[in-house]
Subunit: 454 residues, 2 copies
């Protein structure tokens, strides 16, 4: 019987998160204020507790995972790794395809890894409430559940267009006890300003972040929680890659190439960063490929410059690949990849050519997702379909060349709440959105410090 | 660190299905024709292949699981068992609560266990197409995926009201390549007859079965596939209970009571039957409790009599607990439990007092599901909420009495496609449907052989 699933025991849940900062060729560039001056980390205390800020700026290679967090991880971790024998067979490729299955968490994606950790550290710091934003709903639902598990109240600013289109992600958050608001709201100064200018504004991730940050900054009992982009969020996801290494070792494999969807970066970093440690130690060097949407390609088409993380300019300035903080990405169905920038760490690694990036068009990602689901059963999230598209393309190149490469990708989530998108694909109604060059150029003209990146 | 999840390795996937017929105190009553005469099994050849009929009538205790079926099972099996520490703590009960997690299959429920087996045996028998019915969509989506994996075309007659209310279960089946029709259709004699009498008929499971059976009986390349009720379907599910026994052994436990939702019976049988083997060998005897909806309580309020499995009377007559084949159950959200009868095997065991049954009202089941999801993360299917309600009630009785009972239940599926039902609960719009006594009495007056059961 061919082995299709590679499991680890509970005792093999990683005990530490891996911090890639320890292995960077040079230290990360500091965040800056709107005046361009380097910011002291204490500037973040208004929205994050001290223990989270310590992780955000740490250069320690290994950071211990608290036992209470590992105990909850155990409800679905170690997550399974699968060998996609049936997909290989359908493609007729000599490549070996493996995937790490993060869709098995209760919230349906890798996002729960960081949500549990953030809720824990906020609870430890005496915080009572968390605010956050959500687009596709994967992060919001993860934080709703994590808040519930640690007795924290959670308020989610959900991008209005998603709130309307994805009522069941909203129900999921409410089932787990969170309060969900359609953003922009009348509750924040920033929301009121946007609605005054444009009463029908559909919202965006950047706007929702502005609202959640504004609220947290204004209340002592409340902090803000972010689902990607920041160093500590990427850190929490590195359990994915650590487990994946052990699972491949168990079957005597090591990946030639690793693929993961890339929006803010936590999905990609979670799988790829622990393999960078091998490259840093001169041991082995798999090619690490971030896969972005063709219509929102921050790494492959953006500028490497200081920019805001949100639309309104409430966050610190970070050195990153950006399409401009006021760029409004097209309404692709992979809501988790609809973000103007990329995390500072992923950006730095890309800038230093330690990782690669490619972009893929929307329709081709759903085509890949359908092929995958008919072979492997699991219906992938639209974000995950981006990695699957890239893996299938590489496997087909291997078919041409006869190379038996070992390919690994992150099946970051399931698509149970994205079936309306699959419906659109199946009925031929899905758009393919070209790269919105004019809109990006307009947004890049507003870079707060101009092109002074380096 | 408390252990919350109990895993088995791939090599521990059961090699045989357990056939409870071998351990019954007396042989099952034979199916009968509409004239009341016992039917020869060959009468089923019009709708089932011979290898499935052999399983249906077998009295062998152990039936080997083909390697090709076990290989696909491996994509999600052995399924995890969880100890619900957090739920126990919230309830403040001395009881230990374990659940078998069947929600991890690609289709989201235990139904895939039998779908894979049925698709395999039909493929072996040279069949090209399968027809089936689905209500809530869990069975239809499971058969869609199984058909895809073995290269069989699948047509699903989906109860019209579900087709309208659960478009995403429909999308899921289409993603896996199945054809989905809203039943009643104009394609079958039975569908046309019903639509002629009542053009707005919302459909029912009984009608959809009639249509799927009629089509299969009329085409040589096509057979019919059923998701519950029949002996071979219950047989395929017994891997659940076999795995559960091993998992409890691993932590030194044995259940005092086992709970599972009960509609047709495959969910209950899958978990409970392997424990009946212990009772039969005089070894141990856990209490086995089937949990039904208060508004469709075939075991607790039905008659033990011969009746049809479908609305139109196309199936053989089976000795079972029934509310009458033309009883139309209220529109509860646990679509998988909206069936007028119970399987012959479950009915016989209940009649011989080897198992117990209770019924629970709808609102209380969702209340239990919410409590569970806030402790354990997983949002349960409305069917599974029935078992959870019963377990919570028992755990609270243990709190009163101080007994530290070991309780086990079947978390048969997740509720990702049932969030509209959770929405209704959360907004206070859910109905509680009383037992529809007059409608049941009217239907029971139409029992085809009258009260001649025994």
């Amino acid at each position: 019987m061919k082995q299709t699933r590679i499991l680890l025991s509970e005792s093999e849940i990683p005990t530490h998160w891996y911090n890639v900062v320890a292995d960077l060729p040079k230290p990360p560039a500091p965040p800056r204020g709107p005046d361009g001056e380097p910011l002291d980390p204490s500037a973040m205390l208004a929205i994050f507790p001290e223990n989270i800020i310590e992780q955000e700026i740490s250069a320690e290679r290994w950071i211990a995972i608290p036992e209470a967090v590992r105990e909850i991880y155990q409800q679905w971790r170690p997550s399974p790794m699968h060998r996609a024998h049936r997909l290989e067979q359908v493609l007729g490729t000599p490549a070996k395809i493996f995937y790490k299955n993060e869709s098995v968490s209760a919230s349906g994606s890798h996002k729960l890894n960081s949500a549990i950790a953030q809720a824990y550290f906020n609870k430890q710091a005496g915080i009572k409430r968390l605010t956050t934003e959500t687009g596709a709903g994967q992060w919001g639902s993860s934080l709703a559940l994590a808040g519930q598990m640690f007795g924290l109240d959670v308020r989610v600013y959900m991008v209005n267009v998603s709130y309307q289109q994805k009522p069941f992600r909203r129900s999921m958050m409410q089932t787990w006890g969170a309060e969900v608001l359609a953003s922009p709201t009348e509750l924040t100064r920033c929301g009121r300003k946007i609605l005054a200018d444009d009463p029908g504004n559909p919202g965006s991730l950047g706007i929702a972040i502005s609202e959640a940050v504004e609220e947290a900054a204004g209340r002592d009992d409340t902090k803000y929680s972010l689902g990607s982009v920041l160093n500590h969020v990427l850190l929490h996801q590195t359990i994915i890659g650590q487990e994946a290494k052990k699972q491949l070792e168990q079957v005597g494999e090591y990946p030639d190439m690793i693929f993961a969807p890339c929006g803010g970066g936590s999905n990609f970093a979670g799988l790829a960063f622990p393999f960078l440690a091998d490259a840093a130690s001169g041991d082995k060097a798999p090619r690490l490929v971030a896969v972005e949407p063709a219509s929102c390609p921050s790494l492959t088409r953006g500028h490497y410059a200081y920019d805001f993380g949100d639309t309104e300019g409430l966050t610190p300035l970070t050195l990153m690949y950006t399409l401009g903080h006021d760029f409004m990405p097209p309404s692709i169905h992979a809501g988790g990849l609809r973000y103007h920038g990329a995390s500072a760490l992923v950006s730095q690694l890309y800038h230093e050519k330690l990782i690669e990036a490619i972009s893929v068009p929307q329709i081709a990602t759903f085509e890949a997702g359908i092929t995958f689901s008919r072979c492997e059963g699991i219906i992938p999230a639209p974000e995950s379909c981006h990695a699957i598209r890239a893996v299938i393309d590489e496997a087909l190149r291997c078919k041409e060349s006869g190379e038996a490469k070992t390919l690994l990708f992150n099946l970051s989530g399931h698509g149970h709440f994205d079936m309306a998108s699959y419906d659109k694909y199946l009925s031929g109604d899905l758009e393919n959105y070209a790269y919105p060059e004019a809109a990006v150029n307009a947004a890049l003209a507003h870079l707060p410090l101009g092109e002074l990146a380096e």
